[in-house]
Amino acid sequence: MTTMIEARNVEFSFGSTPALRGASLAIDAGEIVAVMGPSGSGKSTLLHCLAGILVPDAGEIHFDGARIDARSEQERSALRRERFGFVFQFGQLVPELTAAENVALPLLLGGVRRAEALRTAHGWFDRLGLAGLEHRRSGELSGGQAQRVALARGLVAGPRVLFADEPTGALDSLTGEQVMDLLVTAAREQGTTVVLVTHEPRVAAYADREVIVRDGRINAPDRVAS
């Protein structure tokens, strides 16, 4: 199995407060990995480092065989736009846009023509049980609907890696499980690797395996990158 994304001895501090203290993790292509740990353990910081949002103070991040943490902000931004997808705890949809326009956003930013981007976006509404909601704005959607729209936006451009940070954290358990079921099904169909940050065991149980972040280090002795 090919390693898709990897952290090697990553250290990161917020000012004088260390968040990651030598975290190492290798995730295979197509794998769904849950990153768990108590509040403040560094799991979201790890996700942001893996995704190229934060640059580690020490250590390396590799994506698809190439080191990415040493690249410029512009290059990392392009990488995030073209290769990565994101879903956060709160959908963070653009309120002025319709649901379909929100889903189409990554395609539009990637230079796809508007008509084509919207056509592709509309295809995701049936797939995620959102048919008929294409023209609603985020304020007219329930929490579960908004998060499914956010999921479609995260996957619409066919990312190699989907980063999901507490994607069900704002949902009740039944709605959260529906979102997780859709996330896992869509990711498997596309062969997308998923880094899933969660503190909820029932959400982590949708992943292939879990790693535990504790005090800025990763407790996964059998799979730590060499």
Partner: protein, 174 residues
């Protein structure tokens, strides 16, 4: 799972032969642990002895398993009481998990490692149950949910205990 009361409940729904009782029990309550025929018939015998079921007919020319069992008023009362009373909430203070952690600390063994191992085992089981939910029907999903919520409660206990190991060590190794 109380097998006698569950069988009684099925008989309250409608009279059944032993074979049908076993089939329906396995379908709704067995979940990979089918009820042995021997246990079905020994349970029915005890229920008949105690006046909770009666045998309504024996089909001509049929074997002993063609007896048809009917619940009595006494049996129905017992089912009614069972279904209206809550299960005793168990405090789980003396579970195996607790005993292992305390003993590990008493014996100066790595309780943290045990908790990590237990967490992995719990999450693996939760993955299996989640797959059952994703691929099975509603009955499977609801039973899997019951297991998932209990495992999740254990995991919360594991996290809390893990955060308090130093204090617990001082308590059990004064």
């Amino acid at each position: 799972m109380s097998v006698p009361l569950t069988l009684l409940g099925l008989l309250e729904q409608e009279p059944r032969h032993g074979y049908d009782l076993k089939r329906d029990y396995d379908t709704f309550f067995g979940r990979g642990k089918p009820l042995p025929y021997g246990q079905v018939y020994s349970t029915l015998s005890r229920l008949a002895r105690d006046g909770k079921v009666v045998i309504s007919e024996v089909e001509a020319g049929a074997g002993p398993d063609r007896k048809r069992y009917v619940i009595t008023d006494r049996g129905a009362t017992e089912v009614d009481q069972w279904l209206t009373q809550p299960v005793e909430p168990e405090p789980h203070l003396q579970t195996v998990l607790f005993a292992k952690v305390v003993l590990a600390l008493m014996l100066d063994r790595p309780a943290e490692d045990y908790l990590d191992t237990q967490r992995r085992a719990h999450l693996q089981r939760m993955r299996e149950l989640t797959e059952v939910k994703r691929t099975g029907g509603l009955v499977d999903a609801l039973l899997a949910d019951h297991g998932l919520y209990h495992l999740e409660a254990d995991l919360r206990w594991i996290e809390t205990t893990g955060a308090r190991l130093d204090a617990l060590r001082r308590t059990v190794r004064p």
